[in-house]
């Protein structure tokens, strides 16, 4: 499965290598040069991890849940606030006993918040946590190697 990511395509120009700190012109002591090279290599690790399929998958899963959810609850909240301030007549319409549309909408906001919280944490636990943890250890292993194992 290939994920069409505009960011990813833009990255494919070898910019990561150009990241070494600008040390030309100043004399760098050998020990420090080694450390600088190590840091640059460690930075390169993050670029490689970012391009890896495993990371792209974690990011896709995160975005695929979060983007629609954020748009959804934000629009639902704004619609609620705007309706409450501009159309109080509609909100006052009785539904059952003393309960009216406004009360149902307000409790609906509470309910949707609880449901989305539950759905998000379930989604993260089932679809993201394991892969993210593996990536974390791999990345840390790679950065340690890149720094020369001393850190």
């Amino acid at each position: 499965m290939r994920y069409e990511d505009p960011w990813y395509d833009a990255l494919a120009s070898g910019w990561g290598e150009a990241d070494t700190p600008n040390t030309s012109g100043t004399e760098v002591p050998a020990a420090r040069r080694e450390r600088v090279d190590g840091a640059a290599a460690a930075a390169q690790v993050y670029v490689e991890v970012q391009r890896s399929e495993a990371f792209q998958e974690v990011r896709t899963r995160y975005r695929r849940f979060v983007i629609p959810a954020v748009i959804g609850f934000f629009l639902w909240y704004v619609a609620y606030v705007v309706t409450a301030t501009t159309a109080p007549g509609f909100m006052a319409r009785p539904v059952w006993g003393a309960v009216n549309v406004a009360l149902l909408a307000g409790l609906g906001q509470f309910l949707s918040t609880f449901l989305l919280t539950w759905a998000y944490s379930r989604h993260a636990r089932l679809h993201r946590d394991r892969a993210a943890l593996e990536l974390r250890w791999d990345t840390q292993e790679l950065t340690r190697e890149a720094r020369g194992g001393a850190v």
Partner: protein, 530 residues
């Protein structure tokens, strides 16, 4: 009998102060005083502990006394507040909590500065964080002053002033001696007390109406004198279009501001992993949501049992609705049960204020020491230990907050809280979201985003009816009001986002792609997280 519940309230409150001071000395024994310890409490709190602490940090006296009071006076319009305060947590949960835990160390500026030219970004973000914290702190101090006046029946200025000074002194002691560990435990104790008190009152209200919520609503509507209109929006925020836009502005600030509050962000660093941060937010959403649901019952209960006239007679903005309700539920004025419940509510309200101000003071002292001092200090001078600076900063912030709290004694608390949220949403949220999610974001964009939200938010307040041009203003005699709304959020939040975008597209700086890769990988996996 009126003296009795006041003595009891003072006694209970002294017990709380003694316990919290005990916690402070207990946790600060034989600590090495590292930054990790002072700012983040060693990062070893469990999600449940942190969830309670977040709830204790967030549920201020404004929500305990203020929202129920608003509901008891204006019915449904009070409920609009609590919805905003709760829904805001979805922004925190989805976009902020885990990523911030993974990328940062102690403050908001850590997350942003990781990708950018550190110094200007830290100064900008530190300034914004301190501004938000001080505004929020002043709101709590003013609340503490008026609470004392209301609950002890002493409306003299001296009593209010001493309350503000006392709260300020206590929070400085908690923070500078106990750091994050003491602050966290105080917030946990407070959250348990607050939730316990709220549950007792809610159950008593429901028992009074035999569990019939519908009858509670109908009685409240009848006694309010507004009839069915009491249960629908419009009593407070109806009226002209300016009032309506004002409310929309406030709603926007509430929902986007929470994710930019420095003392809330700081809480995520007290747990070991992003997963623990997520679980603590889930805990806190459950606790805060349950709490706000109960304040709805308490608000309508106060309207139905005490009646809006009695509430308004005691305090014009409704802040005493819950204490009056407690007095009635316990058996009425003069009864032992009434005195006990009243005293408990009063003591819980004090505890609430203390826990909240401690959290804010800690977060702002972290911003001063970790962001501002570290960036502004002259390179030639010997660096003091950052924690020492933070402890001194806590004292300085305490003094400033006491001073402003005394000056701003007559300002409306809810307005001050709304303003703090608006500034947080305008100055902190855009830069945070851009840094986490926008690959092309640059240093100039970050600095512009902070000042582009902060400055308009503050300027718009100065030229708003809050400061001049209306009988309720701070300066009612002069009129330099240009901006019609009390809350600047509707304009200043988009401006913050716009300024960040504008600063980025106009800067010559090539965004550092490798650093973006690092931020993205770290934020989503936790690699390299402390």
């Amino acid at each position: 009998m009126t003296g009795n519940h006041q003595t009891l309230a003072l006694l209970l409150f002294s017990v709380f102060v003694a316990i919290t001071l005990g916690i402070t000395t207990w946790v600060s024994r034989s600590r090495q005083g590292s930054a990790e310890e002072f700012y983040a409490g060693g990062r070893l709190f469990s999600p449940m502990e942190n969830g309670f602490a977040i709830a204790g940090d967030y549920m201020s006296a404004a929500s305990f006394l203020g929202i129920s009071g608003l509901i008891s006076l204006f019915g449904y319009d009070g409920l609009l507040y609590s919805v905003g305060f709760l829904v805001a947590w979805l922004v925190v949960l989805f976009l902020v909590a885990e990523l911030v835990r993974n990328c940062g160390r102690f403050t908001l500026a850590d997350v942003i500065a990781a990708r950018m030219n550190e110094r200007p970004v830290r100064i900008a973000s530190g300034t914004a964080s301190v501004t938000v914290s001080v505004l929020y702190l002043v709101a709590q101090m003013v609340g503490a002053g008026s609470l004392v006046a209301l609950l002890l029946g002493d409306t003299g200025e001296a009593a209010q002033a001493w309350a503000v000074i006392g709260v300020g002194a206590l929070m400085v002691i908690y923070v500078s001696l106990g750091g994050m560990r003491a602050t966290t435990w105080i917030q946990i104790v407070k959250a348990v007390l607050l939730l316990g008190g709220t549950i007792v009152l809610t159950v008593l209200v429901l028992v009074r109406f035999h569990g019939d919520f519908d009858r509670l609503l109908r009685t409240a509507a009848e006694r309010s004198g507004h009839g069915a209109a009491f249960l629908a929006p419009g009593l407070k925020y109806g009226g002209d279009w300016i009032a309506r836009f004002d409310f929309i502005s406030l709603g926007l600030a509430l929902v986007l501001g929470t994710a930019g509050l420095p003392h809330i962000l700081a809480r995520f660093y007290t747990v070991p992993t992003a997963r623990a941060a997520r679980r603590s937010v889930v805990w806190s959403i459950g606790l805060i949501g349950g709490f706000y649901l109960m304040t709805i019952v308490l608000g309508f209960g106060a309207a139905a049992i005490v009646g809006p006239d009695a509430v308004r007679g005691s305090n014009a903005s409704g802040n005493t609705a819950v204490p009056l309700l407690a007095l009635d539920l316990g058996g009425g004025a003069g009864s032992t049960g009434g005195a006990v419940l009243f005293a408990i509510v009063a003591a819980v309200a004090f505890a609430t204020i203390l826990a909240v101000v401690a959290g804010i003071t800690l977060a702002s002292s972290a911003s001063v020491a970790h962001d501002l001092y570290a960036s502004l200090r002259r390179r030639s001078t010997a660096p003091r230990s950052e924690v020492t600076v933070a402890r001194i900063a806590a004292i300085g912030i305490g003094v400033i907050a006491i001073g402003l709290g005394l000056l701003a004694r007559d300002l409306n608390v809810a307005f001050l809280v709304g303003l703090a949220f608006a500034v947080a949403a305008s100055a902190n949220l855009p830069v945070l979201l851009y840094s986490l999610f926008w690959r092309g974001f640059t240093t100039r964009g970050a600095v512009w985003a902070v000042y582009g939200g902060l400055v308009p938010a503050l300027v718009l307040v100065v030229v708003s009816p809050v400061v001049s041009g209306s009988p309720q203003s701070i300066f009612p005699d002069v009129d330099f009001q240009i901006f019609p709304l009390q809350n600047p959020g509707l304009v200043s939040i988009p401006l913050g986002f716009l300024a960040g975008w504008l600063g980025t597209v106009t800067s010559a700086e090539v965004p550092d792609e490798a650093k973006h890769a690092e931020t993205e990988v770290r934020s989503l996996t936790g690699a390299g997280a402390v």
